[in-house]
């Protein structure tokens, strides 16, 4: 055999054999190496989803996801990891959140924040295991309510986004949007613009009342029902609550306020700014409460007031209470503007008005507020005595 041919054949054969060996080794090791490399590259992904495998970036342009979600990664077992950038009060807060195939949070961690984080830095731990149904019930960290609620909303967005990516649909509307949608459904001619009506009369089975800004009528909320009336208080649709609503509506719409001149009452508490009386004999007060930075009810120190509107019956029972404006510390005392706080006073009397849940971390604000409320009962007695 030709010597040169032998050389060529043997070298080719060796190369082929070695290539085969390499191919086999590569076949075995390549997936392991790839897994390790993606583990290193996606360390943050594994932090929030330790059991995740084979992360792939998701093309967000194909889906209608909440705007806060900037990146999404799908995972082999049906889970997702989201990168969320918060907006609003705690904007620029970047959070990674893992959601597994069953829609449960596997972990959440913040990556970057323009704020100095204290206890809320580990808030993600609390959110672990939350689902779309339970995420709202995870308590925020007191003293960092805004930051932690932004955190929680980010996680909620992630949970919702996981459902959307999984092919489902989810209601990601905020409470305001849900309310507005319900009101619009009851009274379409209002074109989606409503204002809350301050209740000055004792109503039965009515939680709140909204008026169409364009004068199309009213919507009365009774439990879960939204019932529209015209401007005279006639219910326009068929409902078993028709009679109740009509009675209440006519009472409320007929209610007129007459201002009482309080300058003649020397004993009138300084918190009472203005007083009104309705035709039915109820009182309505505009109150000015001492906020944080104002010492008690002596308005000497510099500080901001909380303006409150309260309606009460002549025998001293609060009908409705509403915070009109406030400038308390954001995230702490500002909770006095939440309806969950001020509606606690509804139905309270001089004996029971103190039975409310104080705003956590805002004792001064709560005290100023309740002090102002207590003056309502004083003012009613003064006005009745002087009348």
């Amino acid at each position: 055999m030709n010597k040169h041919m032998k050389s060529v054949i043997s070298l080719t054969a060796i190369c082929a054999a070695v290539s085969l060996l390499l191919a086999v080794t590569n076949y075995v090791t390549a997936p392991i190496i790839e897994k390790q490399q993606s583990a290193a590259a996606n360390e943050a992904l594994y932090q929030v989803m330790p059991d995740g495998e084979d992360f792939q970036a998701v093309d967000l342009t194909k889906y209608e996801l909440p705007d806060s979600i900037t990146e999404a990664y799908s995972e082999k077992n049906g889970g997702y990891v989201f990168k969320i950038t918060t907006t609003g009060y705690s904007s620029g807060f970047i959070i990674m959140c893992g959601v597994d195939a069953s829609g449960t949070v596997t972990g959440a961690t913040y990556i970057a924040s323009s704020e100095t984080l204290g206890e809320e830095a580990t808030y993600g731990e609390k959110l672990k295991g939350a689902t779309l149904d339970t995420v709202e019930s995870v308590e925020t960290v007191s003293g960092a309510t805004k930051t932690t609620s932004a955190y929680r909303n980010a996680v909620k967005d992630s949970l919702g986004a996981a459902v959307i990516l999984g092919g489902g649909s989810v209601d990601l509307r905020s409470d305001e949007e849900i309310l507005n949608d319900n009101l619009s459904a009851a009274l379409p001619s209002a074109e989606g613009k409503f204002t809350s009506v301050f209740i000055t009369e004792e109503l039965t089975d009515i939680n709140s009342v909204y008026k169409a800004e364009n004068g199309a009528g009213y919507v009365f909320v009774s439990g879960e029902s939204f019932i529209a009336t015209d401007n005279e208080g006639n219910v326009t649709s068929e409902t078993k609550l028709k009679d109740t609503v009509e009675t209440n509506a006519k009472k409320l719409i007929a209610s007129t306020l007459t201002e009482i001149d309080i300058s003649g009452y020397a004993d009138m508490p300084s918190q009472v700014q203005k007083a009104y009386k309705t035709a039915s004999g109820n009182y309505v007060f505009d109150l000015r409460a001492a906020g944080y930075g104002i010492n008690g009810d002596k308005y000497t120190a510099s500080g901001e007031y909380i303006y409150i509107k309260v309606s009460a019956t002549a025998d001293g029972k609060i009908i409705a209470c509403e915070t009109v404006s406030q400038k308390e510390s954001d995230g702490i005392g500002s909770a006095c503007a939440d309806s969950s706080f001020y509606t606690q006073f509804n139905g309270k009397t001089a004996d029971t008005y103190k039975d409310i849940d104080a705003i956590s971390g805002a004792t001064v604000t709560t005290n100023g507020y309740t002090t102002a409320i207590s003056k309502v009962f004083e003012a009613i007695n003064i006005l009745k005595g002087g009348a």
Binding site: K3, S7, S10, L11, V18, T25, N26, T29
Partner: protein
């Protein structure tokens, strides 16, 4: 002891014909990977694995491989094994892979391996060649470990990454750099020479003639007074 007994084939690599300190082969990886004990051990064992496999395979094929293409054949075989070892380390010991870096791939051109293939495996039986590979590999590992121990303990004040209480306050960082490496290398060569004095093979016994790079090397030697091997 019979010079060709299996035991002596294995043992000679450890000291008498230690590839690093006596044969002065593989200087480059020796200096580069002997800054840490872990790195030295990893490098030594990786090279040993390649040595045993390549020696055995080359010995097995020594009658099949035509003389004219033996060097390319050896390199293909060696490179194949190096790549296999590299893949395995990358997959199962990623930290070691990162530590050794490019030197892992450079085992291919480590002269110890090509040198043993040419000097021993090309002429001896499979069993003896594997033993020679094991001995040489362990000798290489041992040499690396000696150097790494000196350099890490004195240079970085730690051993295998574990800090040594007193020494860590008096580090001689010079030793972890290349010049310090040469110094330690030189001193250890002297120590080994002293230990094996009179027993180490004379230069003639492993003359340049057997080396695959002899032609190139001798030509270069004529122009430069001192030629350091790889």
């Amino acid at each position: 002891m019979n010079k060709n007994s299996n035991m002596s084939i294995f043992l000679k690599g450890l000291l008498l014909e230690n590839p690093v300190f006596v044969l002065i082969l593989g200087t480059c990886p020796t200096l580069a990977t002997s800054t840490t004990v872990i790195g030295a051990l990893g490098m030594g064992l990786a090279a040993t694995a390649v040595l045993i496999c390549s020696n055995a395979v080359i010995s097995l094929l020594r009658k099949v491989i035509p003389d004219s293409v033996r060097i390319p054949c050896y390199i293909v075989i060696i490179a194949g094994f190096v790549t296999i070892v590299q893949m395995i380390i990358h997959a199962y010991l990623p930290e070691l892979y990162d530590l050794l870096g490019v030197y892992l791939a450079l085992i291919t051109v480590n002269c110890i391996i090509l040198g043993r293939a040419e000097m021993f495996a090309g002429k001896n039986s499979v069993g003896k060649s594997a033993l020679d590979g094991a001995g040489m590999g362990l000798g290489f590992t041992l040499a690396l470990l000696c150097m790494a121990t000196v350099r890490e303990v004195l240079g970085a004040g730690s051993f295998a990454g574990i800090e040594i209480p007193f020494l860590s306050r008096f580090k001689i960082e010079y030793l972890t750099k290349a010049p310090g490496g040469f110094m330690v290398y030189g001193i250890l060569i002297a120590v080994v020479y002293k230990l094996t004095h009179g027993k180490a093979p004379k230069k003639k016994e492993f003359s340049c003639a057997g080396c695959p790079s002899a032609g190139f090397c001798n030509a270069a030697c004529e122009n430069t007074p001192v030629k350091e091997e790889n």
